[in-house]
């Protein structure tokens, strides 16, 4: 089973090398990432598998929207300009040879198994008392390494800022005749009526219960963002003001960092009496997961909205 999945993963990626049509390339990419997420699940990491599955879908959506802009901006009569000289067979052969050579180098220089598991054991044994909760992975990125999580949230903030800054946009999204066909499709409406409520319930469940079971702020936030994106794509609802969401996102980021500073960095845990400690830890974990989920949801919502609203020249 595992070997089959690995093989599928590599083959779908290789197909992209020869594929010429853009939409198919992106779909193979989505399939490859999805198979990767199944492999991650088999490897015993449901958190990573959930994150990768959500990411594969989001990546595919970003690429498809990007391609939509590309195809609509392109003048159909004008041929796409590409550089005239194609690579010679010799240069292709040299490149393949070089890639094989690099692979050989990696295989030659990586010596036998030598894995030192003492940190793993420390984490498994101590996470529940040091940080709280039952999801050790969540305890690591919300407790031990919250400094990293802070900067990861910062990456999202900056990415949103980058997307806003790089694109021209207007606040009212374009109403195009061609697009409304998708939204009026009965199949889409039917599926959305069933799937969308499940999505948001699942997202909230992941966020709130992330410290007990697999899940957490990131995965839940992605699911919540998916709900709002579905709502936009199918029902054509534009009732959320993007500048307000942007402000909320920044404030949530500030709240995350302040909470992290106050509680983890200042080692506030030492001040809490012993019998209140589990409750305090649980409240901290739920609060951080909630904030992170909110931040991720806002961030991706703005990203997607800016993509859709790029003005057509």
């Amino acid at each position: 089973m595992l070997e089959l999945m690995l093989f599928l993963w590599i083959i779908t990626a290789c197909i992209i090398l020869w594929e010429k049509r853009h939409v198919r390339m992106v779909l193979w990419l989505g399939l490859s990432s999805f198979v990767a997420s199944i492999i991650f699940f088999i490897l015993g990491s449901p958190d990573v598998a959930m994150a990768e599955a959500a990411i594969s879908v989001f990546s595919t959506i970003f690429f498809i929207v990007c391609l939509e802009k590309y195809y609509t901006l392109r003048n159909p009569e004008q041929k796409v300009v590409s550089s005239q000289k194609n690579d010679s067979l010799v240069s292709h052969g040299l490149r393949i040879l070089f890639a094989v050579f690099l692979f050989g180098l990696f295989m030659y220089f990586s010596p036998d198994t030598y894995f030192d598991p003492h940190l793993k054991e420390l984490y498994i044994r101590r996470a529940a008392t040091d940080v709280g909760g039952e999801n050790i992975v969540g305890a690591i990125y919300l407790g031990y390494r919250v400094f990293d999580t802070l900067f990861e949230a910062l990456v999202l903030v900056v990415a949103v800022v980058a997307v806003i800054h790089m694109s021209h946009f207007d606040e009212t999204p374009p109403k195009d005749e061609k697009q409304s066909e998708v939204r009026k499709s009965n199949v889409a409406l039917f599926l959305m009526r069933i799937v969308a409520p499940l999505t948001i319930v699942f997202g909230i469940y992941l966020v709130v219960n992330g410290f007990l079971t697999a899940g957490g702020g990131f995965q839940g936030g992605l699911a919540i963002a998916a709900f709002f994106i579905c709502r936009y794509m199918v029902y054509d609802i534009y009732d959320i003001s993007m500048s307000k969401v942007n402000k909320m996102e920044e404030m949530v980021f500030a709240a995350i960092s302040i909470l992290a500073v106050l509680i983890v960095f200042q080692e506030a845990q030492a001040l809490i009496p012993y019998h209140l400690l589990p409750m305090f830890q649980n409240i901290y974990l739920i609060a951080m997961n909630g904030l992170v989920g909110l931040k991720v949801a806002c961030g991706f919502l703005i990203l997607f909205y800016r993509y859709i609203a790029i003005e057509r020249s």
Partner: protein, 125 residues
């Protein structure tokens, strides 16, 4: 020689993405290969200490703190790379988003999806 098949396939995928980056002239394909490279690095990190049938590092699936030694540490997956890789995956998505936005803006300006043509056009303006 490397330890397990997952590591070999992760490195193989890394090399395939690298080959894709050095061989394609299409900007969109380059962005796709960057995504694949990032997934391959995540796969590599998750291959440490792997043995088939490992339980996820969640106390409820192990059964509680008392059962850790009953199950055995080597039968529980390593939580540390997982936490780091969730971070890496989210960063990867942000990178993809910024890359595609930059590509669209580049396309609007230069009307090409080819690296060499974009280079010429940026030099001549």
């Amino acid at each position: 020689m490397p330890a397990n098949i997952i590591e070999i396939s992760a490195i193989l995928m890394f090399i395939i993405s690298f080959y894709g980056l050095i061989s394609t002239k299409n900007i969109i394909k380059s962005i796709i290969f960057i995504v694949l490279m990032e997934v391959s690095v995540v796969m590599f990190w998750l291959s440490f200490g792997f043995s088939l049938g490992q339980l996820p590092p969640i106390l409820s699936s192990i059964g509680g703190m008392e059962y850790i030694d009953v199950v055995g540490i080597e039968n529980i997956a390593d939580p540390f790379p997982q936490a780091l890789m969730i971070t890496a995956i989210i960063i990867g998505l942000s990178i993809t988003a910024v890359n595609t936005i930059m590509f669209i803006t580049l396309y609007r300006k230069y009307n090409t999806i080819d690296w060499d043509v974009a280079k010429e056009r940026s030099l001549t303006e």
